[in-house]
């Protein structure tokens, strides 16, 4: 034990990029209490294609006064850490009059889920093909108190096989929900090995920089990347303003790889951190597969992504992750999901299996739609169970996290109101959980505002003016979600 603490201390001194995970034994009581008082992690989980009407719990209420819907049943173990929100809308981000029609819905609505801005307006303003305002997760990642000291300021993951349609809009609108502060889409990675390497600092093919010739390989990597940087810097001077800015970003990425490729990889460690094995046995991801095959298994894909998210939080490699369960307008065939019949009264198994998510689910049979949605809820519940099993001081990881779980679209009607939304996790005591709240057509921006200001105690530019400016709709706190 002493040995490993000394090694950690040395690594800190050496300026290693990984920040310290929660070291229970080293932290004085008062600091522990303080840490528990502030929520530490933010995890928006995106559900594509809206949700069936039966997503909503039958009644509003707190505690014993409300019950989960059949679709949300997998979250039953976490009911006391759950808030279901009905009545949020995001049409106001697109339409000044708050109208709920935003077409083509799949190609546009997800773009505003975490930005509360119509990407089309930003694109037109800048005269570029792809742009948006900064998303909520990135606003947090930039905050020194949240994203500040971790190895990765944020992480974007998802389960896509890219069998999805962009509906004549830039695919960034429907295949990512994270946007950088310069308005560039931050696409998710769906490759478990790649996510693992990102978290641990290994580059997949250059391997772990350890072993007898590590110093030489590090020196070679440095020379290679120095040449890349030197040449790009010279080329940059010959470019017009827009391309010069693109090169600047490119150079930032080269330098960030240089940091990993030229330092001894420390992997991840610490007392609370249990690194998983490199996911080499993860489902191989064939290009554009539309259904489970011999080499692709959506359930296994979700499970391993859940493990990676848990490791990322547990080892404090990042505190901000966005997770897309699928691309918007996914046509993946959920042939592995058994069909159930959903009614107000309950859920009963039926013969057969589900089909295409969008065509046969959202647009087809309400039961296929509900069965696929419930399967996705189940994977979120599995993630919650893992997070809840890990203790951090007196709390669990789930208690110290805030999960925003929901969709940018209502349901089969494609409207941008009545969004299926929920908050899961304790928010470190800031939230009044175990509730189903019915709001009266409340703009989603108010919820994001509340999370930033009240739950994460953020302030300043980027927070106070988050999202599109609607003069008649100043940001307001959704006090219903807050603990007394």
């Amino acid at each position: 034990m002493n040995r490993s603490i000394a090694r950690r201390a040395f690594l800190w001194g050496a300026g290693v990029a990984l920040s310290l995970p929660w070291l229970e034994s080293l932290v004085p009581k008062s600091a522990k209490a303080q840490a528990q008082a502030s929520v530490r992690r933010y995890l928006p989980i995106y559900l594509p294609n809206g949700a069936p009407e039966l997503w909503r719990p039958p009644t509003a209420g707190i505690g014993a006064d409300w019950q989960l819907s059949g679709i949300l049943q997998p979250l039953a173990p976490f009911k006391n850490q759950l808030i279901v929100l009905t009545g949020l809308e995001n049409g106001t981000s697109f339409n000044a009059d708050g109208g709920s029609s935003v077409e083509p819905s799949h190609g546009r609505q997800p773009g505003a889920w975490l930005t509360c801005t119509d990407p089309g307006v930003v694109r037109a303003e800048l005269g570029v093909a792809e742009a948006n305002r900064i998303s909520l997760d990135q606003t947090m990642a930039k905050d020194p108190n949240i994203g500040g000291n971790t190895k990765l300021k944020s992480l974007q993951v998802g389960l896509s096989t890219w069998y999805s349609y962009c509906d004549d809009n830039p695919c960034s609108n429907s295949r990512t929900v994270s946007w950088s502060d310069t308005g560039i889409p931050m696409y998710k990675s769906a490759d478990p090995l790649e996510v693992f390497n990102q978290l641990t600092g290994a580059t997949s093919l250059t391997g772990n920089l350890q072993g007898p010739d590590a110093e030489k390989r590090i020196a070679l990597n440095k020379s290679v990347l120095d040449a890349v940087i030197e040449n790009a810097t010279r080329t940059q001077a010959r470019l017009g303003a827009a391309d010069r800015a693109k090169f600047e970003e490119f150079l930032t990425h080269v330098r960030s790889v240089e940091k990993d490729a030229t330092s001894m990889s420390v992997g991840m460690g610490g007392l609370a951190c249990v690194p998983m094995a490199s996911p080499t046995t993860a489902p191989v991801l064939p290009d554009m597969t539309q259904q489970n095959t011999e080499t692709y298994n959506k359930g296994a894909h979700a499970d391993i992504m859940n493990d990676l998210i848990v490791m990322a939080f547990q080892c404090d490699a990042t505190r901000v992750i966005t997770y897309m369960l699928e691309d918007e307008r996914s046509e993946f065939i959920y042939g592995h999901v058994p069909l159930s019949i959903f009614t107000e009264a309950g859920v009963t198994p039926a013969p057969g299996f589900c089909g295409e998510y969008h065509s046969e689910g959202q647009h087809g049979s309400p039961d296929v739609y509900a069965s696929i949605t419930q399967w996705n809820v189940g994977k979120v519940a599995a993630l919650c169970a893992k997070l809840d099993a890990i203790k951090e001081g007196d709390n669990s990881l789930l208690d110290n996290s805030l999960i925003l779980f929901g969709s940018a679209m209502h349901g089969s009607n494609h409207a941008c109101n009545m969004l299926p939304m929920s908050l899961i996790g304790g928010g470190a005591g800031k939230l009044k959980t175990d509730q189903h709240i019915v709001l009266n057509n409340r703009w989603l921006r108010d919820l994001h505002h509340t999370v930033m200001k009240e739950v994460f105690a953020m302030s300043g530019p980027g927070v106070d003016d988050f999202g599109v400016d609607r003069a008649d709709r100043p940001a307001a706190v959704v006090s219903e979600i807050l603990a007394g």
Binding site: S101, L126, A129, E130, W162, Y163, D168, P170, C171, S172, P185, M186, Y187, S189, E194, N197, Q198, T203, S204, L205, T206, K216, S223, V224, L225, D226, A227, V228, N231, A232, R234, T235, R238, L239, G240, A241, A242, D243, E249, F250, T252, H253, V254, S256, V257, A261, L285, D287, M288, T289, Q290, I333, G355, E356, S359, E360, H363, G364, S365, A415
Partner: protein, 533 residues
């Protein structure tokens, strides 16, 4: 593929500030050829480039790599960016490819073109590899930068070859490889100027081959002969005659425009359509490529695209089409004129792609025809429109009747009237493209329709109507220009397109003649700089 480094280095220095302008077709008009930013290689182009230039069999870029699509194509410059994760992929792939190339004596020999390891040798290696990977000669200072890396690797104990391998890694990880870059001589000006010959060679090769210029193209760029119209036409002929490379044009252009690239993963309900399989999907994909390819390679008139009566079938496709059975595997070209099937809209691939898994969708087929073949944007559905249940549960009913029910709502009817008739005329082909005369429930199929006051019936009526529509021939030229440039079409392009259309429709309107016209037009050969916003 060797080039003496001295000549090239000198030329490279000169290229930075001159724009060779000897082409006879390069006479500036008053039009605006547009501009385009950095153009990152997409995954397909990356794989083809490293295969062609280095001979590796590796295909490092997958659909997991960062991509972007705009206007239906994945080669549009403005949505091809690099983020942190993507650069890591490039860096890793560079190592992987370098390892692969240096593991093979043959492949290595193309890079390590001399063994003396003196200055002249190293310079020639750098100039040669740089020329092929950056698609232009390296300037002196660029040679110096990569030479420094070579020297550092030697210093660290690497051999001559080992050090060249590090250089190859660096070139593959360089922005100048990852991006196609066109330079503007004056950054303060937005006046149009011709591309230099290397930039033109690069545009051509990514247009028709989805890959880097080969030695012949680089040679035609080096002596500027490429800038002359005649050389350009001859070059296009040579490029289209390269079977493997030009098949990439078919797969990437027609494959995306006509949807064939998505067909192998298309699914149909196995209970309703037991004949559907991934093998059949692959065969129908091949047929779509071969069908388009014949128009490309035989200079057949584009106006026969909807009516030509030939097919490419293997045993499974022949069975689907109800043709006499074929014993031999592989695709066979057949001309069978006494059946119900002909033209593009008779291809099983098109018919399946534009259907749902469990039934046909006249709306989807109609929108496909309107959008893809006539380049006409269907109006968006009005807010809160009720959707016709996709019928996952009851695929046996009469789709036409259900759709007519749906269209009783006037809000729906006005839009659907613009495209549904195209699809309804094809109802005699089921959701995987088999010919039928009744629905599952026995109801007879009525393929007669009315579109904007004109009535027509069945596949033949559709083929005729589409062919007659002036948008049909203009649609391919607009779509092809967009693909060729890797940017959306602007208003300024329209006047050029008018000229192009007059030109290629004059004689037999073959795709080849369209390619000539487009490549010789200003938007392909000129550009202007983009000032800061």
């Amino acid at each position: 593929m060797t080039y003496p480094w001295l000549t090239l280095a000198l030329l490279g220095g000169a290229l930075a500030c001159t724009n060779p302008n000897s082409g006879t077709g390069s006479v500036a008009s008053s039009g605006d050829p547009g501009t385009k930013g950095l153009h990152r290689l997409n995954s397909t182009e990356y794989n083809a480039t490293v295969a062609d230039v280095l001979g590796t069999k590796l295909r490092p870029a997958s659909s997991l790599w960062l991509g972007g699509e705009l206007d239906g194509f994945d080669n549009m410059a403005s949505v091809l960016n690099v983020d942190a994760a993507q650069y890591r992929r490039y860096f890793d792939a560079a190592q992987l490819i370098a390892d692969d190339v240096f593991a093979s004596a043959n492949l290595k020999a193309n890079v390590v073109i001399c063994a003396t390891a003196d200055d002249a040798c190293v310079h020639s290696i750098l100039a040669n590899a740089g020329l092929h990977l950056f698609r232009r000669p390296l300037a002196q200072d660029e040679i110096a930068t990569y030479y420094k890396l070579y020297a550092a690797a030697r210093q660290l104990g690497e051999s001559h070859e080992g050090s060249v391998k590090q250089v190859l890694r660096a070139l593959l990880a360089s922005a100048e490889f990852i991006y196609r870059i066109e330079f503007d001589p004056d950054l303060k000006s937005t006046t149009k100027h011709p591309l230099n010959s290397y930039e033109l060679a690069t545009r051509l090769s990514y247009f028709l081959w989805s890959s880097a210029p080969d030695d012949a193209l680089l040679a035609a760029a080096e002596d500027n002969s490429l800038l002359a119209d005649d050389t350009l036409r001859a070059t296009l002929d040579r490029m289209l005659a390269e079977p493997v490379k030009s098949s990439r044009f078919v797969e990437n252009f027609a494959g995306q425009w006509l949807g064939a690239r998505k067909l192998p993963e298309h699914s149909a309900n196995p209970y309703l359509f037991p004949a559907w399989s991934s093998e059949l999907a692959n065969s129908l994909t091949q047929e779509m490529y071969l069908y388009f390819g014949e128009f490309l390679q035989t200079d057949r008139s584009w106006l026969e695209f909807m009516t030509a009566d030939f097919n490419f079938v293997d045993p499974s496709v022949a069975k689907l089409y109800g043709l006499p059975s074929i014993a031999q595997a592989g695709m066979h070209r057949v001309e069978i004129t006494d059946d119900q099937r002909f033209g593009f809209a008779g291809l099983g691939g098109f018919l399946a792609l534009s259907s749902l898994g469990g039934r046909t969708s006249p709306t989807l087929r109609g929108r496909y025809v309107l959008k893809n073949l006539l380049c006409t944007e269907p109006p968006k559905p009005p807010p809160g429109v009720p959707t016709l249940s996709a019928g996952g549960l009851n695929p046996t009913r009469n789709v036409r009747a259900a759709l007519e029910e749906h269209r009783k709502d006037p809000a729906c009817a006005s839009c659907h009237a613009l495209f549904d008739p195209y699809g309804l005329s094809l109802e005699q082909f089921d959701a995987i493209g088999a010919y039928r005369t009744t629905y599952f429930n026995g109801a007879p199929i009525d393929p007669s329709v009315e579109l904007a006051g004109v009535t027509f019936t069945g596949l033949s009526g559709l083929a005729e109507t589409v062919t007659r529509d002036p948008n049909f021939s203009e649609c391919i030229s607009e779509t092809l220009l967009k693909y060729a440039l890797g940017r959306p079409i602007t208003d300024a392009d329209r006047s050029y397109l008018t000229t192009v259309n007059q030109d290629w429709l004059k004689g037999t309107p073959s795709i080849r003649r369209l390619v000539y016209s487009l490549v010789l037009a200003e938007p392909f050969r000129f550009r202007h700089g983009a000032l800061a916003q």
